[in-house]
């Protein structure tokens, strides 16, 4: 492990963060030097018994000086805020073509699921120059995935998905670790971020044992868990058709309209009575305790594939887009 595996500039964003950091270091250094030299200077010049001139200080000058440095400080701090905030805002938009990797944290390890089906423990392989979006959850307590070379970290929570995205610009092996205290082995819950060239990554990915992609595994679960029993349009049970549900606006029975993102899909499986789609009865059973985090990842991948794949999976429902299911 080298310093480089912690502090290499892993992405353009990381470079910007470093830039902000050093500017702040310079500004802070100057202010500290100013205060220190004033204190030292005054202490020397105005030590008791020195012959410096000590006449009275006019009240009006005093007040002007006060207002002056208050305003100057305010403007400086607002400038720093604006500088940092614009970096923050610029980093918020996730590119649409991001590669999605699922991460499940538990005491005290990281389980990683690649979209191609590969599974890793305490390691994340990613291609360089491709946006990568990590979709993360915890099985137990709050953890935090820290990628120092990306200058990023994000708390990983139980019962929710949180996200991190980056575009790596150099290959190499970098540090990955937990940064939210999580118990006994918190300090050894570390691993590696392995950045490869796109072609190396493709080769690596297909060489992994679980070559079947997440969506296909999810489809199998969709049937084996009985979801199709209600959600197929041929079912006698009136349940929303899940074609194209991912990313769509969903109208709920209490009048709200929400977007069907990963969190919505996850909640629909685990807490089905939380948000009832308008026009449907609240009869879906909860799969809490029945389906594991890993299986949830696969189911959600399958549901996403129902929106994006141009051809429907082999046993999927034909047609049925109009009329049934999610109303616009």
């Amino acid at each position: 492990m080298t310093t480089d595996s912690f502090m290499a500039v892993g992405s353009d964003y990381a470079g910007k963060v470093d830039e902000t950091f050093w500017i702040l270091v310079i500004i802070s250094g100057l202010i500290t030097a100013l205060v220190a030299s004033l204190i030292a200077g005054f202490s020397l010049r105005y030590r008791r018994g020195s012959n410096a001139w000590r006449g009275p200080f006019p009240e009006r000058v005093s007040r002007d000086v006060e207002i002056g440095w208050t305003v100057a400080t305010l403007f400086l701090f607002l400038f720093i805020f604006w500088w940092a905030a614009s970096n923050q805002l610029a980093a918020l938009d996730v590119p649409g073509n991001a590669l999605e990797i699922h991460v499940v944290a538990k005491q005290w390890m990281w389980r990683v699921q690649q979209p191609g089906g590969a599974r890793e423990i305490n390691e994340i392989h990613v291609p360089e120059k491709v946006p990568v979006r990590l979709v993360m959850t915890s099985e137990d307590v709050i953890h935090d995935l820290f990628l120092p070379t990306m200058r990023l970290k994000q708390d990983v929570l139980p019962g929710r998905y949180t996200f991190l995205w980056f575009t790596a610009i150099k290959t190499g092996v970098f540090h990955l670790t937990c940064a939210e205290y999580c118990g006994t082995d918190h300090s050894v819950m570390a691993g590696r971020l392995v950045v490869m060239t796109a072609s190396d990554y493709a080769r690596w990915s297909s060489a992994q044992p679980e070559a079947d992609n997440l969506a296909r595994q999810g489809e199998a679960l969709f049937y084996s868990l009985g979801c199709s029993g209600c959600h197929a349009p041929t079912s006698s049970v009136h349940a929303p058709d899940l074609h194209g549900v991912y990313g769509r606006a969903v109208h709920l029975s209490d009048g709200r309209v929400v977007t069907a993102d990963e969190a919505y899909l996850r909640d629909s499986i685990l807490l089905p009575l939380k948000d009832i789609v308008v026009g449907f009865a609240p009869i879906m059973p909860s799969f809490q305790g029945v389906v594991t985090e890993d299986e949830l990842v696969k189911l959600i991948a399958y549901l996403k594939s129902l929106s994006t794949s141009p051809t429907l999976p082999s046993t999927a429902i034909e047609g049925g887009r109009a009329g049934t299911g999610v109303k616009q």
Binding site: F6, A36, R47, F57, R63, A85, I142, P148, H186
Partner: protein
């Protein structure tokens, strides 16, 4: 500054000092004299300072090597947790308010005691009860949640004595609230005639504003810990994600208190420094009015920034933006105070006794601590630096470099008044300088390793950080020596120190118009006030008195 009211003390036997009035242990344990209660607190918090110090000494020793030396990870985790809990709630929060605030507030405003003397004693007993829970936790094996008690770790996964630890903090919180209520009522209702708000010493303003924060913020901590206890103890879902609960709700409730808490820790320190610097620079404080408004602004805005502890917790980007903005705003009044303290030196007649050395050290270290706060207020910087040693260095700069330095400054400044003895100036200066050097040696390396990726609360750590950890641990050893030294020379002064005159520093302020130590009854006749504080200028016609002041202070032995 006041009428010559205090020469009431005739040639007959002067009243005994507050120390002499009643010699039994019972007289101390049932006292309602604010001065004695201050001593009770001082002994208690000093005891806990060293317990918390021993805990972190063991931690810093363990961190000399990347794989540890003699502790299991569980033991390590319990040690840093205990260090945090003890230092925050059993040392820092009560430190200046419960000792110097209690002792000086009535004296500075011309009152004979605080508004509710029996409530004052009760507040100390609440501290002791909370301390008992904490000692029980310690003896039973400790708690390993960190001082932050995050759910669901604290509610469902922590081994260790979470409930006992939470109970200790819950109870000591009410000690805080009681003190706060007392101080606010005292400041409002018991100022001597002529002591208008804008004639109050800044220390009094600091006690007043910190009390507002204590009264309003601490109850939220109490409730957040109560909820952790009911979830852990009774299985009631509050933060339990499997039943729809939200662990982040805990964080919001916890930090809603714990951010103002850090201002509870710094406002009194600012108050002390504002008393010490004018005295030893022989100049009135620069910009008194701005200093008052700065204290008020800090107290108010401190309630609006808690989310900056949660930038990576999973709150929305909008929340991050708002909290970041407000965090920059709250830094402005603090900056003004730094400039004003510095400007107070201008055209002064400066001497460098120990209180002044500590106070000047405070200004420098607080400046660095505050500036690094700006780093952390910037969201992209914080995303990288949070939960790393950068944060640890930041808050130790403000709380230790800041508050503890100011506590030491105040302790040395008012030691003659409180105990009636002088301490050894040479040793005190040596300790002050050693503190400053040891402190920087301990915590500067932590900024570097924090930014370079060293996470906090880590028992084992990557090899590349060892050099920095060793530097920090050696610095901690120096700091430890600097903190033990005062025990020695203060102890010596109690037994053999030269008897202190009423006003050894020729300071202004009503507390210096009584004998050292003061009599049990502060003022035979409540004084009438004619002017504001810090009348140090030659034009103020304050007699630059030596030991033999023309007016004999109240209670002084002839």
């Amino acid at each position: 500054m006041t009428d010559a009211v205090i020469g009431d003390v005739a040639a007959e036997t002067p009243p005994p000092s507050y120390l002499g009035a009643g010699h039994t242990l019972l007289s101390w344990l049932t006292t309602t004299d604010h001065k004695r209660i201050a001593i009770l607190y001082a002994i208690s918090i000093t005891f806990f300072f060293f317990i918390g110090g021993i805990a972190i000494a063991l931690v810093r020793l363990e961190l000399m090597t990347p794989q540890g030396l003699f502790l299991t990870s569980d033991a390590y985790n319990r040690l840093f947790s205990l260090h945090g809990i003890i230092m925050v709630w059993f040392f820092l929060v009560p430190s200046i308010p419960a000792t110097m605030g209690n002792f000086l507030l009535p004296l500075m405003i011309g009152a004979n005691d605080v508004a509710f003397p029996r409530l004052n004693l009760l507040s100390w007993y609440l501290y002791v009860l909370g301390a008992a829970f904490t000692i029980y936790t310690l003896i039973s094996g400790g708690v390993d949640t960190g001082w932050t008690f995050y759910a669901p770790f604290s509610t469902n996964y922590a081994t260790g004595y979470v409930i006992a630890a939470a109970a200790g903090v819950f109870v000591v919180g009410f000690s805080s609230i009681a003190t706060g209520v007392n101080f606010i009522a005292t400041a409002h209702m018991l100022r001597a005639p002529g002591m208008t708000w804008f004639r109050l010493p800044l220390f009094v303003w600091a006690m007043y504003t910190v009390s507002l924060v204590m009264v309003l913020a601490t109850p939220v901590l109490a409730m957040s810990l109560l909820l952790v206890v009911v979830e852990r103890g009774f299985g009631l879902p509050i933060f339990d994600a499997t039943r729809g609960g939200d662990p982040i709700l805990f964080q919001h409730l916890f930090w809603f208190y714990s951010h103002p808490a850090v201002y509870i820790m710094i406002l009194p320190a600012m108050g002390v420094v504002s008393e010490v610097i004018p005295c030893f620079a022989r100049r009135t404080i620069f910009g008194y009015t701005f200093m008052v408004y700065a204290l008020i602004a800090i107290a108010v805005i401190s309630f609006m920034v808690w989310g900056h502890h949660m930038f990576v917790a999973g709150q929305s980007p909008l929340a991050n933006l708002v909290f970041s903005f407000l965090s920059f705003i709250v830094a402005v009044p603090s900056a003004i105070k730094v400039f004003n303290w510095t400007a107070t030196l201008h055209r002064g007649q400066i001497t460098f006794e120990a209180p002044m050395l500590y106070a000047l050290g405070f200004v420098g270290l607080f400046t660095i601590g505050g500036l690094t706060g700006l780093f952390l207020a910037s969201v992209p910087i914080d995303i990288h630096a949070t939960d790393s040693y950068f944060v640890i260095a930041h808050f130790h700069f403000v709380m230790v470099g800041g508050t503890v330095s100011a506590y030491m400054a105040g302790l040395h400044f008012w030691w003659p008044k409180i105990t009636g003895r002088m301490y050894s100036e040479a040793w005190a200066r040596f300790a002050a300088i050693t503190t400053f050097l040891g402190f920087n040696a301990t915590f500067m390396p932590q900024f570097v390793m924090g930014w370079n990726g060293m996470p906090r609360r880590y028992h084992h750590y990557p090899d590349i950080f060892q050099a920095w950890h060793v530097m920090s641990s050696v610095g901690a050893l120096i700091l430890a020596v600097a903190y033990v030294l005062p025990l020695v020379y203060f102890g010596w002064s109690l037994l053999y120190g030269r008897r202190a005159p009423a006003n050894p520093w020729n300071a202004t302020g009503l507390e210096w118009q009584t004998s050292s130590p003061p009599p049990k009854e502060n003022f035979h006749r409540i004084p009438r006030i004619h002017a504001g504080p810090y009348r140090y200028h030659a034009s103020d016609r304050l007699p630059m008195a030596d030991d033999r002041t023309p007016v004999r202070p109240q209670g002084e032995t002839p």
